[in-house]
């Protein structure tokens, strides 16, 4: 699989405190890459290194095997970084010009993004008068102005309602499919990571897991048999359906209300990983 970005032995120290310890992984082209970790894990530091706001103490980052090009990276910050007193159109225009996009092309790009993201009704509205959702949509439009190859989002959907979050993700997934846009994001919402094709879990500056969602489930996922009895709920870790049936046979039929076999979800695995480290054994 082609790689858009290689994070190669990144180490970062702040005042002799190590924040990232030899972090290495690759981001496949066209992937949706979730970058997870609890607060203070070093996520934002690594994101800032990728977007070149910070330089690493050691290690390098390559984009398509070469130096990272700022013009190929779209960034959505957690906080709103557009000008309060300008309209969304003016904001997008100024940001677009910083990428040296020609007037005609920029005008066209703003209209296209405005239509796709449903911004037409508030495109000429003063930014500070827009709702939180509208501001986020504008931030995504700003990040996509120059048709980036990779979109980096740092907890970009924090404080958004479910409807707006879903709308944004629908649009981003469409861009991923249509334009092969690589999306690299960190999020507080574990359920958002379920759309990801690739995952990286960071704890105290160290990578605990890096791979596909499927490989994560294969490595750390477990099956659970859950039995609702008349007077209590039983939950048992099982290795197969056969083992579940054997367990059920031992119970009194009349006492069982319902039963189900399910896989552990991402939230379970994430919590266990960041709490106990390697849980594969």
């Amino acid at each position: 699989m082609k790689t858009i970005m290689s994070i190669d032995h990144i180490r970062k120290e702040f005042h002799h405190k190590v924040v990232l310890k030899d972090v290495s992984f690759t981001i496949p082209t066209g992937s949706i890459f979730a970058f997870l970790g609890s607060n203070g894990a070093g996520k934002s530091t690594l994101l800032n290194i990728i977007i070149q706001i910070l330089l690493p103490t050691s290690g390098r980052i390559f984009m398509n095997g070469k130096e990272v090009l700022k013009s190929k990276i779209g960034v959505v910050f957690q906080e709103n970084t557009l000008d309060d007193d300008l309209t969304i159109y003016e904001n997008l225009w100024i940001r677009g010009k910083l990428y040296h996009i020609s007037n005609e092309k920029l005008r066209h790009q703003i209209i296209v993004l405005s239509n796709k993201l449903g911004m037409a009704s508030f495109l000429h509205q003063i930014y500070k008068e827009c709702s939180g959702g509208q501001k986020r949509i504008a931030s995504i439009a700003r990040a996509l102005l120059m048709n980036p190859e990779i979109l980096i989002m740092d907890e970009a959907t924090t404080a958004l309602d479910i409807e707006t979050r879903k709308k944004l993700w629908d649009f981003l997934l469409e861009q991923n499919k249509l334009k092969n846009l690589t999306i690299f994001f960190s999020s507080h919402y574990i359920e958002e990571a379920k759309v990801a094709t690739n995952l990286c879990i960071l704890k105290s500056g160290v990578i605990l897991f890096h791979g596909t969602y499927r490989s994560l489930l294969q490595k750390y996922g477990k099956k659970y048999l859950q039995v609702q009895l008349k007077d209590q709920l039983l939950k048992k870790e099982v290795t197969s359906i056969k083992q579940s049936l054997l367990f059920l046979e031992k119970l009194d039929d009349k006492k069982i209300d319902t039963f189900s076999v399910s896989n552990s979800d991402l939230e379970d695995i994430f919590l266990k990983l960041v709490s106990y480290g390697d849980i594969s054994h």
Binding site: I51, Q52, I53, L54, L55, P56, T57, L69, K70, S71, I73, V75, F77, E79, T81, L82, D83, D85, L86, E90, I94, R95, K97, L98, Y99, H100, R142
Partner: protein, 290 residues
């Protein structure tokens, strides 16, 4: 250029910014006419100079200082945008673009310099109109160009100084406090509120190193040149230095009068040093990122 336009747009979006800029210029001029003018005219007479040109001399002298102060204070509003951008994290949105750190930093300098020039030049021509109507006194084209060039250099220095100071201020409250202090102190530093010759020698020697003190003196020399010669024509040469030095037309350092040529050299050196400081700051910041 785009960023300069962005800063100017933000400044112009708020009509209060423009109104307050001109209002503060008006307030400074009014305060002079109300409280300082009579005192200074009397001081000139007290030193034994009795001429019909005394009032014109004092008005020219003081308005020159006020023009420097107006230029120096009008750079603050754009620098406030700079502090706000850094404090709110908005500047990150520029740092992720292909625009270099240099261009980002200097965009604030150019925008503040542009605004201060617009305001100062407007006030300058207003003042010239006042002298034409009230005294029928008119500067030559050469003197006008020289005055505007002095204001140009002075505002450039003021923008650079405030930009450097703003680099070390990370929140609005500190910057607002600084603005208040700066507004008060700058008048004393340039000898607008009290003629520079009234200060103790030590203070004079310290203020001497403040570049805007030099530009004020240069502008005063240009603006009062023909008037002082009219006042001094009936007085012996030994007495000339009193008028020049006490009222800050010429600056002295350790009892030596500094020539205009030396003053210009100091102004250019100040511009170079301030830019060098910015260069070193960015260089160090880049290195420090590691």
């Amino acid at each position: 250029m785009t960023l300069v336009i962005r800063h100017l747009k933000l400044y112009l979006k708020k009509p209060t910014n423009i109104i307050l800029s001109f209002l503060s210029s008006g307030v400074i001029l009014s305060l002079y006419f109300l409280f300082i003018r009579e005192f200074t005219i009397k001081a000139v007479s007290d030193y034994g100079f009795n001429s019909q040109y005394n009032e014109l001399f004092v008005d020219r002298l003081m308005t020159s200082g006020l023009l420097i102060v107006i230029g120096a204070t009008s750079v603050l509003s754009i620098m406030f945008i700079f502090v706000k951008d850094r404090y709110s994290g908005l500047i990150k949105d520029f740092l992720v673009t292909p625009i270099s750190d240099w261009k980002i930093l200097y965009s604030y300098f150019f925008a503040s310099f542009f605004i201060s020039m617009m305001i100062t030049i407007f006030v300058y021509f207003g003042i010239e109109l006042f002298f034409l109507i009230h005294y029928q006194d008119q500067r030559t084209v050469y003197q006008m160009i020289a005055s505007i060039f002095t204001i140009f250099c002075s505002n450039m220095i003021a923008s650079l100084i405030i930009l450097i100071i703003a680099l070390f201020i990370h929140n609005f409250t500190s910057f607002s406090t600084f603005e208040t202090l700066y507004g008060v102190v700058i008048g004393f530093f340039t000898g607008v509120y009290i003629p520079i010759g009234y200060y103790p020698a030590l203070i004079r020697n310290i203020f001497f190193y403040f570049p805007l003190c030099q530009t004020t003196s240069i502008l005063r020399t240009i603006q009062t040149g023909s008037i002082t010669s009219q006042i001094l024509k009936n007085y012996p040469k030994e007495q000339h230095h009193v008028l020049y030095e006490i009222f800050g037309v010429h600056l002295t350092f350790q009892n030596q009068v500094i020539s205009l040529e030396k003053q210009w050299k100091m102004v250019f050196v100040a511009i170079i040093l301030l830019n060098l400081f910015l260069f070193l700051y960015i260089f160090r910041k880049k290195y420090k990122k590691r």
